[in-house]
């Protein structure tokens, strides 16, 4: 009768332990899934910003903006008055001043082409708001989110590890052999379940 009671008590203790461990593993798995989703969300934002289409768009926007800035107040600006040195002297041949204006205009047009190339080149990287810096910022921001989620996952896993160290309560009946048996059974059950929970957690994470 005493032996039976011990076995029953041990079984109940094992079941309680199993329920506790299962609940802890499930809670940890839920937290892990949430943090994994947060990390994935941060990664998705970066992936979106780093897509070829978006990077090309960023580069082109930067190139247009830079070109506009570079031509502001420039003699190469299409709508600016091209400054001509001096004024044609009175009585001077108008063909001279006309030729002069043409040469200056041509020089300004050449400058426009080179400035557009400079703006395009600069828009790829090395400046503010260009493709390179935008990509770096996107990666830095995603790294922040991913690192935070990763740190949380490590912490939760470590906490689960502490919980998994909790042993089941072991019952013994005096010096009866049943008590030893019950203890052995509890130990085996604990190890077996602990291993399976670790496996489940690994698979979940």
């Amino acid at each position: 009768m005493g032996q039976q009671a011990t076995v029953s008590a041990q079984n109940q203790a094992n079941q309680d332990w199993e329920a506790t461990q299962t609940a802890a593993a499930q809670a940890a798995a839920q937290k892990d899934a949430i943090n994994q989703q947060k990390a994935q969300a941060a990664l998705n934002v970066a992936q979106d910003k780093l897509s070829p289409a978006n990077q090309t768009q960023t580069q082109q926007t930067a190139a247009t903006g830079l070109n506009t800035q570079m031509l502001t107040g420039s003699p190469a600006a299409p709508d600016s008055n091209i400054k001509i040195l001096g004024q044609p002297q009175a009585g001077a041949d108008t063909s001279v001043s006309s030729d002069m204006a043409t040469r200056v205009t041509n020089a300004a047009r050449e400058a426009q082409g080179r400035i557009a190339a400079l703006a395009g080149l600069t828009s790829y990287g090395g400046g503010y708001g260009d493709m390179g810096s935008s990509a770096n910022m996107a990666l830095a921001n995603s790294a922040e989110g991913i690192n935070l989620a990763s740190d949380f996952r490590k912490g939760d896993t470590a906490t689960l590890g502490v919980t998994q160290q909790i042993q089941p309560i072991q019952y013994a009946q005096g010096s009866n052999i049943a008590g030893s048996l019950a203890g052995s059974l509890a130990g085996i059950a604990g190890k077996g379940l602990g291993a399976s929970l670790k496996l489940a957690n690994t698979a979940g994470g």
């Binding site: 005493g2 009671a5 008590a9 041990q10 203790a13 830079l66 800035q69 570079m70 031509l71 502001t72 107040g73 420039s74 003699p75 190469a76 091209i82 400054k83 001509i84 040195l85 001096g86 002297q89 001077a92 041949d93 001279v96 001043s97 002069m100 204006a101 040469r103 205009t105 020089a107 300004a108 400058a111 426009q112 080179r114 400035i115 400079l118 703006a119 600069t122 400046g127 503010y128 708001g129 910022m137 830095a140 922040e144 935070l148 740190d151 949380f152 912490g155 470590a158 906490t159 502490v162 919980t163 160290q165 909790i166 042993q167 309560i169 019952y171 013994a172 009946q173 008590g179 203890g183």
Partner: protein
């Protein structure tokens, strides 16, 4: 010892205590990290600008309490309460009145007694749920309820925004552009003088030189913008590096207050940073040098230029006097 007795209760209790402490410590650590990360984000990227909007409350998001489960889905500033179902008018337009709390539900929500006049007729009614605002007004579940809520406008205030970086870039431009303009004006004046001295002010040579000067002016202006943009990009990278360093310190210390203070200091230092400015070198020297050479060549009594010679374009347009009378004077063709 005929009964069964636990043999490791103390050890198990200790392990449970350890696990509970580890759990609480980890929760506190994560909250601390999250707080610190948010603080750093707001210091560097600005705080969200919240707007307010008024809308009708969607009762489908409200879940009344049941058994031991408390009510959920209440809008901010409202409390879920249980009231006798018939304490409102049939149209639901009038807020129910109550005479006081007569008890608590199992989910810790108050139960109000109906007014004395209504008590008799409502005594048999089943209680229903409603929401109570700060003033005590109760709106029965399902009745129209206008709520004011806050939402993120997507805008940010403070931090290192475009305005900050554009201001920095403008400082660089303000330093270099006037110098470039001054040098351009000087080169323009010198070129005019040189051309006048050479007697080529109204010549195709003058056109070429003016064009070259204008070309250089345009390119120099563009280079200044490119330089300002690069310096602004460097500043942005540096600020980003500062932010990452602070986040690393946050992880190392788990102290959001310390890290936030460091972030404030770093941000303030970044705001005071001056651009790297160096005096602009001579930007238009080549154009003037060429004119000077032409001027010197024209005025040298030893220069003999054959009409039609094209080795030096600057010397083509002015037509020198005949070789026999090469006194340095030029005529215009």
């Amino acid at each position: 010892m005929s009964g069964s007795t636990p043999t490791n209760t103390s050890a198990v209790d200790f392990e449970k205590q350890q696990a509970a402490e580890a759990d609480a410590k980890e929760a506190a650590r994560q909250a601390s990290l999250q707080q610190g990360q948010t603080a750093i984000d707001q210091i560097f990227s600005g705080s969200p600008v919240m707007g307010t909007k008024t809308s009708n409350f969607d009762w489908s998001t409200f879940t009344p309490g049941s058994g031991r489960m408390p009510a959920s889905g209440m809008p901010a500033g409202y409390t879920a309460v249980q009231v006798p179902a018939a304490t409102t008018s049939p149209t639901g337009a009038t807020a129910p009145s109550r005479s006081g709390v007569v008890g608590m539900n199992t989910n810790n929500t108050p139960i109000y007694a109906p007014t004395a006049s209504a008590a008799s007729s409502f005594a048999a009614s089943a209680p229903s749920w409603g929401l109570e605002d700060a003033s005590g007004k109760i709106t029965k579940q399902g009745d129209p309820l206008s709520i004011t809520s806050q939402y993120d406008t997507g805008q940010r205030t403070g931090g290192f925004d475009d305005a900050f970086y554009n201001d920095y870039k403008q400082k660089v431009l303000d330093y270099y552009q006037p110098d470039e303009q001054r040098q351009y004006d000087q080169a323009q004046r010198d070129l005019t003088y040189n051309l006048a001295r050479a007697g080529t002010l109204q010549s195709s040579t003058a056109g070429d030189k003016m064009g070259e000067l204008a070309y250089n002016d345009a390119i120099q202006k563009a280079n200044i913008v490119a330089n300002a943009n690069a310096q602004t990009g460097n500043l942005q990278n540096q600020i980003q590096a500062n932010k990452e360093s602070l986040i690393n310190q946050l992880y190392a210390t788990d102290d959001p207050t310390l890290t936030a203070n460091l972030a404030e200091s770093s941000a303030a230092a970044s705001r005071m940073q001056d651009p790297t400015l160096t005096p602009a070198a001579g930007l238009f020297a080549p154009a003037l040098t060429a004119v000077g050479s032409a001027y010197n060549a024209y005025n040298s009594p030893y220069t003999v230029v054959q009409p039609g010679a094209t080795t030096n374009p600057a010397m083509v347009s002015p037509t020198p006097a005949s070789s026999s009378a090469s006194s340095g004077k030029t005529t215009y063709g």
